[in-house]
């Protein structure tokens, strides 16, 4: 109940955000009384913490962060690689941030108001925010940034999330109003994406892939990048959050081999590491002096099905495949037990996810699967190809091999095609596949990942062979516009049940986002998006 209330207060629909706004403005405008109490309370808790041996953050120090991949592009509006996003989170800010439960919280926008009809978003911006080059941040920068995303010449993949914007008005240097063509309940979440980072209006025409043009308002400034070696980020002394960041410097080092990262953590050569492979994570758990934070990921592992190809165009065949795969054993065998079985919305998004026990196909039933194949006219099974990208994720091939073994039991002969990632993407974009393994980045809002794949006008419809369902279309349209949170939740619950029944994807599991760090690293807050934006809270215990 508490969770639901919190969610109601902050997440999703417009009506609820009006409440948030009310709370924010109370604090800001009539501040006196409440603020004094709040300050007193915070000071008291700080004192109590010190008294009971709690930890008070230390300023200074250089944190060395290791990861296997270097950035692929530095333009915050076009680079989609996670490796690039991790840097954007340190250097730039968005209008809206996310708290540890992925709820929208003020970032560059101090508060916001959503109109009754859900078609107008007014953001009240923070004052006294400066870009790293000293320029003042104003509503003109917000307008310029979003317009740059909307400009087709920029080539931004997140443009599709903002196309509902009809007009951007800046009535005041610290107020920006977005007028939408129609209500879009997930709009706030879109403003929190790393690809919606706010840049200076003076740089809209610059090549933002060049390191010297990486100028944001974030807690850290990029001062040096040597590709494939390291990136140095210095503390932004003028950062708008009082007292943050604590660290003087972050150095991101590229160590391509995860076993070498483990060795570097062991010796203290690096303080912090982003880990991808569950096998590495398991190794780290046993090392004294090193902490592993594993938070259920929003990303989920799945099998894409091209429903335009026979026999996969028959829903009974897809249901048989879904029934034949024991997802928990797949996690145990292919991912060393590091994951949670998931439906169309992963359990790391608890407000929206329907428990898998309520979904079709999540209890393995070989007999039922065989029966369905027989009804569909394939009593002896058939042959099918399953493409798997090598190393993306690390467990892709193992997952494919496991599925091959399980489907053999119902007579389906799977040929696993391991391919290099560039080839995989090329074939994926052409839907040149029967079935393929994949990992999808999830998002805090269900509209984000359901609409684009499963609505008949969704931009990614092609990859599942344009499978669609009239009832689902209706639900996804309603979900986009419904501002009442409980109603919205019911809409997406039904959508998930239809999807599990119709099997245009086979949802397998969601893994973890791993952050490993030595004992001296304090204050980090992991997010299930894999974000490191809370590096601003991190301090080193000397």
């Amino acid at each position: 109940m508490f969770l639901e209330n919190t969610m109601k207060g902050l997440r999703g629909g417009g009506a609820t955000h009006r409440k948030t706004r009310a709370v924010c403005s109370n604090l800001r405008l009539k501040g006196g009384g409440i603020m004094r109490w709040l300050v007193a309370l915070i000071s008291l808790s700080a004192l109590v913490l010190v008294a009971i041996g709690g930890e008070v953050p230390e300023y200074g120090g250089k944190l060395i962060l290791a990861r296997t991949q270097d950035v692929v592009g530095l333009d915050p509006h076009t680079a989609t690689a996670h490796a690039s996003h991790r840097v954007f989170e340190l250097v730039y800010n968005r209008l809206v941030g996310l708290d540890k439960d992925l709820l929208p919280i003020p970032e560059l926008a101090q508060s916001w108001v959503i109109s009754e009809d859900g078609k107008e978003y007014t953001f009240y911006l923070r004052q006294n925010v400066k870009f790293h080059n000293g320029a003042n941040f104003t509503s003109a920068d917000v307008k310029a940034s979003i317009e740059r995303i909307l400009d087709e010449k920029t080539g931004s993949p997140v443009r599709s999330y903002f196309v509902e914007i009809q007009e951007i008005i800046t009535p005041d240097p610290h107020i920006v109003v977005f007028k939408l063509k129609r209500p879009l309940a997930s709009m706030l979440i879109y403003f929190s994406l790393p690809n919606a980072s706010i840049i200076s209006k003076d740089l809209v025409n610059a090549d933002l892939n060049k390191p010297e043009n990486v100028i944001g308002t974030g807690p850290f400034k990029l001062i040096e990048w040597v590709p494939d070696q390291y990136m140095r980020l210095k503390k932004n002394e003028a950062y708008f959050e009082e007292g943050k960041p604590y660290l003087d410097e972050i150095e991101i080092r590229i160590i391509p081999e995860e076993s070498s990262i483990v060795a570097a953590l062991r010796t203290g050569e690096v303080h912090f590491a982003l880990i991808e492979n569950p096998v590495t994570a398991i190794t780290i758990r046993g090392i004294p002096g090193v902490q592993l934070s594993a938070i259920p990921s929003l990303r989920y592992h799945l099998v894409f099905i091209n429903t335009s190809r026979g026999p996969l165009n028959d829903v009974r065949v897809r249901q048989a495949i879904s029934l034949a795969i024991d997802r928990q054993t797949l996690i145990d065998v292919a991912a060393m037990g590091e994951g949670v079985v998931c439906g169309p919305i992963p359990p790391s998004n608890p407000y929206w996810a329907v428990p898998v026990t309520e979904l079709f196909g999540y209890k393995r039933d070989v007999e039922q699967a065989k029966l369905l194949l027989k009804e569909a006219g394939y009593p002896n099974g058939f042959k099918v190809k399953l493409m798997a990208p090598i190393g993306e994720p690390a467990t892709a091939i193992a997952e494919a091999q496991f599925i091959k073994a399980q489907l053999r039991e119902i007579g389906i002969e799977v040929e696993v095609e391991p391919v290099e990632f560039g080839v995989y993407i090329d074939r994926w974009l052409k839907a040149d596949l029967d079935m393929c393994m994949g990992v999808n980045a999830g998002a805090p809002d269900p509209d984000f990942y359901l609409y684009r794949y499963f609505h008949s006008t969704g931009p990614l419809q092609f990859v599942i062979g344009y499978w669609n369902n009239p009832r689902l279309d209706l639900l996804l349209d309603q979900g986009r516009q419904e501002v009442d949170l409980a109603k919205r939740r019911a809409i997406y619950a039904e959508a998930q049940k239809i999807l599990a029944q119709e099997v245009p994807f086979i949802w397998l599991f969601s893994g973890y986002e791993y952050f490993a760090y030595v004992d001296s690293v304090k204050g980090f807050v992991p997010l299930s998006t894999g974000s490191i934006e809370y590096m601003k809270n991190v301090w080193l215990d000397p």
Binding site: K153, N209, Y230, R253, I254, I255, A264, G422, V463
Partner: protein, 318 residues
């Protein structure tokens, strides 16, 4: 010799041209392109106009042959274009990685030659004795160990037993801090050098055995020369040709980058640069790296040919 050298140097140009054209065609033939690898599945979210704008920005909208000619033109103008991924000049990217690759090559080669020749000579002298078998066995093991495994094992042993590993992800220049530099490159050089030493040992042993059986060695011995003089001055010099051929080839490969060892020890060498460029379809960078490694390979071969003539005066190039 002079005219031979001039002829060889002139031959470099068509070699480089041919290699660049072949590699350009091959890389272009691999499915996928820079934009789709950069954006991943989100590439599908772009509108036609957006995609066209991006392809135009990187010059990928032009036909294959025009792209190649454009690149060739930039090479002839002394530039190699800009890396798609980093936006930096390709030449700058290569030069930044050159010291690591050169130093690693030199250290590994020296280690391979010194250890390999010593063991090879020892084994040849102690032919069919226990110590010969032992050296050969160690050599065989050295040859069979996969380098990535050896590298990971070294790092693991260092980190667990000594709580120390070579600095990772950031290169320390020799001129700045020689000790830290050698600590950083010593173990990767060892990883590469051991395999090389094993191979040099086997080749030099068999070459020496052949030479030691020849008449001029018998003559030298009959003159009463000490055994070490016979070995070092007469036998070894004559047994060096196959060793030089082999080492020359290996130096050529190493200058092209030792991808696996670079990855394990997190060294930014030419090898990783090229492999990442291929993965990311960063065509200008792929071309630049290939041009560079081809050039190094051709030059190494030329140097090897010159060394032949120095080691064995009977070899002449007229």
């Amino acid at each position: 010799m002079g005219s031979y050298l001039v002829r060889r140097l002139f031959l470099i140009l068509p070699t480089l041209f041919g290699a660049s054209l072949i590699v350009f065609s091959f890389v272009k033939a691999i499915p996928g392109d820079f934009i789709s690898v950069m954006l991943g599945t989100q590439r599908a979210l772009l509108t036609e106009e957006q995609a066209e704008a991006l392809y135009r920005m990187y010059g990928l909208d032009k036909p294959f042959i025009l792209q190649y000619l454009g690149w060739l033109k930039s090479v002839l103008q002394g530039s190699m274009g800009y890396s798609f991924r980093s936006g930096q000049p390709v030449l700058k990217e290569i030069i930044a990685r050159l010291p690591i690759t050169l130093q690693l090559t030199i250290m590994a080669t020296l280690l391979g030659i010194v250890v390999g020749l010593m063991c090879g000579a020892y084994a040849a002298v102690k032919r069919e004795q226990f110590s010969d078998f032992l050296v050969r066995l160690v050599g065989l093991v050295g040859l069979s160990l996969p380098k990535f495994w050896l590298g990971i094992l070294l790092i693991l042993i260092l980190s667990v037993c000594f709580k120390w590993i070579p600095p990772m992800g950031k290169v320390v220049n020799f001129t700045e801090n020689p000790i830290a530099n050698l600590a950083q490159l010593g173990f990767p050089a060892l990883t590469l050098g051991l395999g090389l030493a094993a191979e040099v040992m086997r080749i030099s042993r068999s070459a020496l055995l052949e030479v030691l059986g020849q008449d001029f060695i018998l003559t030298a011995r009959s003159k009463g020369l000490a055994e070490h003089v016979v070995l070092l001055r007469h036998a070894l010099r004559n047994a060096l040709i196959p060793v030089i051929t082999f080492v020359g080839m290996q130096v050529g490969y190493l200058l092209g980058g030792a991808v696996v060892v670079e990855a394990v020890f997190s060294l930014p060498g030419i090898g990783r640069l090229l492999v990442n460029a291929v993965y990311q379809r960063d065509y200008p960078l792929v071309q630049g790296c290939v041009l560079f490694t081809t050039f190094m390979f051709v030059m190494t071969n030329l140097v090897v040919d010159i060394i032949y003539a120095i080691v064995d005066p009977r070899i002449r190039y007229d």
